[in-house]
Symmetry: D2
Subunit: 333 residues, 4 copies
């Protein structure tokens, strides 16, 4: 029973069906009807004119956004536990040609204006120090916390006042929106976000994330960077099809709600063991090595996070009976 | 009737089926059973131990190979009409951190030891000039010519004697092997090739090319570069599935033969109009603007290449009756 | 007797004296009085407000300018024999993070609007091709030809109409201005040039070139790039002192005139042997290997350029009697 | 009275004289007799065969070394207060094409095997995390502490056991050796160091640092990188002359001893105010803003370091009477 991550979950049948349907089309790169529909469809979803590009991975989406927002000699403010800092194999440095990540603190990998200022204000404004040029937050965070619109807006206001660009890594954006119960617009561009890595792969897609530019001027150079990075698939229609299927009928929200509900079940069972509040689909709980071993012995697969902590992740397709069994197992530890 | 390119052809049903089958698996990145099977399956095909990595695009495959073979301060010998020089939006420079393409001549975009030496020997061996570090050829070439094993071996011998690495861009490798009638080994590692971008997308795949390292030592750093470029899909199993399906039962060769046969039909019709011999699935022929317009008026879609030349490309799925009609139309120009 | 190059000529005594005087100062980087005087002094010379930065080498000056003018995914139009293409060891690609040099033709390494258009117009405006973003000319050219103000202005107008940035490599700018007899302003910003690598090292300096931005907005990021490239010397005052000494009393022009006059003497002797008109301080002449050997046997040192051609370069300090002897020797070949 | 830094101290008269003497030479780049003498002269000093390259700045020396030691996708272990992390404007990332600095702790900016292991061992060995490839220490450290040979050797042994390359930033190497009283060999290659940025500029030079490779195999590619970075001065002889003059008669050690002695005088006066032991030529002491202002009012110039701390630096040429006055002023605060 797999609670290791949501990153290898099955592809939703409606996504698979949409890909099969795309086989009939025959225009290359992003010249097909599906790719061309992305701008409009995402503009509807976000209630404003956006540019929307398919990209094969979340890492690529994040790093294309950062490259559009930060010059090679600049710095990117982010949490010290951010995915871009720890889990992308140096991709931000590759795409930006060596920009420097400037690390900030914050409970549960969540930044606040205060923690951002603490890092930024310690950097002397001279030519010897790399200066901040942009800011990236992750919603939901690496620890499954959710930024609400007002929290994002406070950070957005700081960014605006300092002249920093503002990016949101939304690998689990769907889970965050499902929890916040807000409109996608409220927690992004209305709060100052200029580019969003809108994740679908963890949530029922196969190989398509959507890079959404609220500042549409950033898109043109990004189209060139996407090609230059070897990310412009000749049969892009199969990526566009995935995104459109996920957006259609709010499948993205339905799937996220399903994953979140499963995590909530585990959270209830975990009670005092919880390391962080469970706001999305990740559950971090305290467990001794013996307890972790006992759970594994019963067939549950999950991640050892830090000493005495484990991480369990649910997905849209996590079987409910697996969840029930794991909740029960946690309860009876 | 589309003869524009093979780059947007339909995905073969057996490939689609294999992808659907992969939905049951659930291990991320390249840890799944299908991804793990690539080394073995490609080793069988090439009759030697290889390392085989899935990559989403041919550009990425080429550029990962080049980055493994050339330091940032080095040079890459290639034909001046090579895809890496003209059609990858600067990706080779991105992946290699600014290596320089050193351009060689050759009829039909085909290099020979003589044309390579002409370029290389004109470069003074001092610190002011970028020195050649590797060599890349394309088989079949941009003009649809096919390198035979002895031709590759002659170039490989030159590369070996100069200490240059040797890469083959095989976006249409299947078409080349189908024509040459040789074993894949003969035209690659037995002829000195150390890395091959083995193309499947133009030939019935959806989004998976295979980067094959005959010099297996090059693979480890490439795994890191693939991640760093945002190319490590979390659901890599769907890429591996495509490659395995294409290799299974020699589907790759069957598809290439089908495409080549269609091109041969057009070549016969074109006769004296041919700009290059037709050895793979590309047909370059002389046509006045009026003639090109006449063909388009009859529903044929193709590419204006140079002044007075057009390019027609066939694919595994080009309908035979479309081919027959186009052959007829050319014949009666 | 050295006619190999002007790149190792002695440092002018007034430059050495100015450096010794700078020893009394003690502010680091470019915070000293001499460094701060550059903007003003060069603004006077060019009759407009400029930003002027000291840089240790011409390669660095060129490449900092190009990095300010061309994004990593862009292209730089230049002559195929340009120094940035052939003699800087890949520095343009390093500084620009992999921009591509787009090569143009032109007699004597001199570009014209026509030769530039021939290259630029052959580049399809799509995402697969690297697009021109800037243009770089060398004055005097690699073959010692001089662009006059109207020639530069014609190119500048083309650049402006296409939205390209415009850089001038002036490693031998002094020699060019001395010949053209124009004001420095006329052949630079009044003709559309936005950045000039103003060379002093070949002309009596030791280790200081001046990067002059007529578009002053380009300077701020360049200050950061200069630091990031390890080019911000802590004792920059010794570089500023060199430039100020060269500008003072038009030493730069006097030195260039001296060098040019010596080349003119050689040119007269060479007569029909000349490969290019001698407009600056470089003399290219036809000489058989036997003739070249004969000259060397008489103690003259020079460069074998192409088959049957040699290059002789004069400098501000080339002894006149050496020039006379060489002229005589050429005359009597 | 300047105690701001040693980075703008005067050039020693013997260095200036050596530069003037170099004016007679005339071979370009590093082909002159002085540049060619570096390998031998530094080999003598270090009692082993080395390759020694002049470089204009310490930043460039450090970053060329790091580029030789770390691939673009790799990581560089260093102290979180290291110059390469904080004061080089992103140059390490530029030269290495985006390698990541992996930050370690340590009192007084001094690393130990334990603090290095703490950082390194927390990095999971998978493709998502940037892996350590090299290690850089600074001797003397940013806080003026000195590594003794056995301390370096312990770190060198760790590096060797892990397969990491080992670099020493010796911007104040002279001050460290003067204090340690060891041979230069003992604290470098005999302790495992493979490359040393040997600083001369803070210690009486003008614009020449020496990059010393104990692993000589690293030098060849570095010659190309030096050119590619625009750091290959055409009149390199003036840089070589500086280094040779500094090494001649142990001027480097004499100057460092002079600077260290001045710092010791200040340290004695500072007593309990000292933040770190004074082992080289930097004095960090506690002073309230009022106290700092009082000192400045008396004509002393120095750096506000952290809250309640100031930094005072002595150089080879700091006038002894200024030192005496400052010592007195500190004493009577």
């Amino acid at each position: 029973m797999r609670f290791f991550s949501d990153n290898a979950a099955a592809v939703h049948p409606r996504v698979l069906a949409a890909m099969a349907d795309a086989n009939a089309l025959d225009t290359a790169y992003d010249g097909d009807a599906l790719s061309k529909a992305l701008d409009g469809r995402l503009s509807d979803l976000f209630e404003t004119e956006v540019r929307a590009l398919w990209v094969s991975t979340g890492t690529a989406a994040n790093c294309l956004a950062l490259a559009a927002m930060c010059p090679p000699y600049g710095g990117i403010l982010c949490h010290r536990d951010a995915h871009i800092q720890n889990d992308e194999g140096g991709a931000p440095e590759f795409y930006t040609h060596g920009a420097k990540l400037l690390l900030c603190d914050g409970e549960g990998a969540k930044l606040t204006p205060d923690t951002i200022r603490a890092t930024a204000d310690a950097i002397a404004d001279d030519v010897h120090r790399v200066q901040p040029h942009c800011l990236s937050i992750t919603n939901a965070t690496e620890y499954g916390l959710v930024y609400r619109p007002d929290e994002v807006a406070a950070i957005g206001e700081l960014a605006r006042s300092r002249g920093w660009r503002f990016h949101m890594d939304g690998a689990r954006f769907a889970n965050a929106v499902a929890t916040a119960g807000c409109s996608p617009a409220d927690v992004t561009w209305r709060a100052g976000v200029e580019a969003l890595s809108f994740g679908f792969v963890k949530n029922g897609g196969m190989s398509a994330e959507c890079l959404v530019f609220f500042d549409r001027a950033l898109a043109d150079a990004t189209l060139r960077r996407r090609k230059r990075a070897g990310l412009l698939l000749s049969k892009g229609r199969y990526l566009a099809a995935q995104i459109l299927a996920m957006v259609e009928g709010d499948l993205w929200l339905d799937n996220a709600r399903a994953a979140n509900a499963r995590a909530a079940t585990l959270a209830s069972a975990a009670g005092d063991r919880l390391v962080h509040p469970v706001e999305a689909n990740e559950v971090f709980l305290r467990a001794t090595p013996q307890e972790a071993a006992a759970l594994r012995a019963r067939g549950f697969d999950f991640y050892d996070w830090a000493a005495g902590e484990v991480r369990m992740v649910t997905a849209w397709d996590t079987p409910e009976h697996d969840v029930a069994r794991l909740a029960d197992a946690i309860d009876t530890l």
